[in-house]
Amino acid sequence: MNDFRDPSGSGASPIARLVDAFHRLPGIGPKSAQRLAYHVLRAPEEEARDLADALMEVKRSVVLCARCQNVTAETPCRICSDTGRERTIICVVEEPLDVVAIERTGGFHGLYHVLHGVISPADGVGPEDLKIAELLARIRDVDRDIAEVIVATNPNLEGEATSMYLGRLLRPLGIRVTRLARGLPAGADLEYADDVTLGRALEFRQEV
């Protein structure tokens, strides 16, 4: 375990820095971070360069869709420009991966809106830090036929706070605001819910 310790004793050896960088990624524990770092260390230089290029490329070329705020290579995104989708209903989610999870259920054919977070004052996130103004502007100017907004934030404290906030904002506009049914175990991440559970949660959604 001491093989990679910086001989200078400063502690910030290149390998420690890489382990640290991997560990900061969501879902990567200390063990996995070490495994990934050693893998990169042993891999041919080409593979490392591919990884570095892919990381930089994604930061350069991926943008946010001007309508739904999802990550996309072109705006408006594929879903927003798909004329086959229902244009009276928007599903509001926390993160782009949640769109992937709900699409996988095949049970939702409306539009999406990605907030890029949830209300959490302790993390310095208020409503103004989320894509809420963009949601209102979009309903006012572009998607004027919206009749229902499904708030599909995670079933935890912060997800509920966000859901209640959106409900208060949207109901006065004559929009029905619903929340996923309680099929999801409290505290569970949408991203990890299985397709059947998530599909049922969508089907049996309730008024906020």
């Binding site: 375990m1 001491n2 990679f4 310790r5 502690g11 050896s13 390998i15 420690a16 820095r17 382990v19 640290d20 560990h23 200390p30 063990k31 070490q34 209300i119 959490s120 004052p121 302790a122 310095g124 208020g126 409503p127 103004e128 404290l157 912060e158 509920e160 706070a161 209640m164 906030y165 208060r168």
Partner: protein, 390 residues
């Protein structure tokens, strides 16, 4: 209930301890610094998931393990036997390694019940303990936080709903306080408080009601015991719950509309809360008053009176735990018998012989004596090992 088997791995002074225990009275003899308190602390942690002593979770991991292991961890396991069967509970404290060769700065707790990963709230209460220790005096003369902690540890073991309310309350409080600071800096709007106030009132009401009821029963029982322990004196012990809420809310502690009244008080107090950037009212600032002869026991009672009050409270807790669950908790007596006079010692031992299992630590094999503890099973604790004693 009783502990049938205890395993401690890399927990404080114990590299590896495995022991089978029977019901009954166990006396654990060990010189100072052999880990007597650590042993009882580990058992208490299996009951409450919290360390009952100071320090961080990281301090619970054996120092050698922190120095040597790539991912240092302490593991505490026990088999708990009750009338309804045998259960296996497990608490692990795992050092969080962020980089190779850098010692962990934080630790995370993991819980298992019968081998399945569970949340803390699912584990608490499977094993129930009442720990008697010399620093129980701090409940009487320490800061209010000690008394809130006492109530939380006592109630958590008896009421899963209390554990959940406590966890939710502390998360909501942190969010609300952060929002108050934002509002103080004129970021955001006051109606953003609506959600957090509602949640704080809901979980806060559960905590207030449970504490009020517990202090009522514990206080009544402790007063009777105190009078018996202090037979020579006429001054009575009173234990009074002081919820940190406005009087109109405090008057509703046993009513169904407590949450609504608390919410009204929170909304009414918003301006002041924003000004200070901190939540001013709620159970996070509760206190319990101990009076002897009508005066604050922490300030004006003698050391002997304070000791009797703390002892009476612990004895009340044993009865309360048994009354609420129908099953007596495991008693842990951490070297407290030597400082008690014969009458108090006899009182504690009569309670000890009324439960399924008691673990008593002492530095001196001669005290308590064999005559005082008939039928007790004796152990010797030395160098982190527990061996049958003579």
């Amino acid at each position: 209930m009783h502990l049938a088997r205890l395993t401690l791995i890399d927990a404080r002074t114990f590299r590896r301890l495995e022991v089978e225990l029977t019901p009954g009275v166990h006396v654990i003899v060990g010189a100072n610094a052999q880990g007597k308190s650590n042993l009882l602390e580990a058992i208490a942690m299996l009951a409450t998931t919290r360390s009952l002593r100071g320090g961080t979770d990281l301090d619970l991991i054996a120092w050698d393990a922190v120095a040597d292991d790539p991912i240092p961890a302490a593991r505490l396991e026990a088999d708990v036997v009750t009338a309804s069967g045998r259960e296996h509970v497990e608490v692990s404290i795992v050092g969080q390694v962020v980089a190779v060769g850098v010692p962990p700065q934080r630790a995370a707790r993991r819980f298992r019940v019968n081998g399945v990963a569970r949340r803390a709230s699912d584990l608490i209460g499977r094993l129930r303990v009442v720990l008697f220790a010399a620093d129980d005096l701090a409940i009487i003369d320490g800061p209010p936080a000690h008394r809130r902690r006492y109530l939380d540890i006592t109630l958590s073991q008896l009421d899963p709903a209390y554990v959940r309310a406590l966890q939710r309350y502390s998360r909501v409080l942190e969010q609300r306080n952060s929002l108050l600071k934002r509002l103080q800096e004129r970021r955001g709007k006051p109606d953003e408080l609506d959600f957090w106030d509602g949640e704080l009132a809901e979980s806060g009401a559960v905590i207030l009601a449970a504490r009020a009821e517990a202090v009522r029963v514990l206080g009544r029982d402790a007063a009777v015991t105190y009078a018996e322990l202090a037979a020579s004196e006429t001054e009575a012990l009173e234990v009074i719950y002081e919820p940190h809420v406005p009087a109109p809310v405090a008057a509703r502690l046993r009513e169904h509309d407590l949450a609504e009244r608390l919410l009204e008080a929170l909304v009414a107090g918003r301006t002041e809360d924003v000004r200070r950037g901190l939540s001013q009212i709620g159970p996070h600032r509760d206190d319990v008053r101990f009076l002897v002869g009508g005066h604050a026991a922490g300030v004006s009672a003698s050391r002997g009176q304070q000791r009797s009050a703390a002892l009476a409270l612990r004895l009340a807790e044993v009865a309360y735990s048994k009354a609420r669950t129908g099953d007596a908790p495991v008693l842990l007596l951490d070297d407290i018998l030597s400082e008690l006079d014969p009458a108090r010692r006899a009182r504690v031992l009569s309670v000890a012989y009324g439960v399924d299992q008691v673990l008593i630590t002492t530095p001196d094999a001669a005290h308590p004596s064999r005559a005082e503890l008939p039928g007790a099973i004796r152990w010797r604790l030395e160098g982190g090992r527990l061996e049958p004693g003579e």
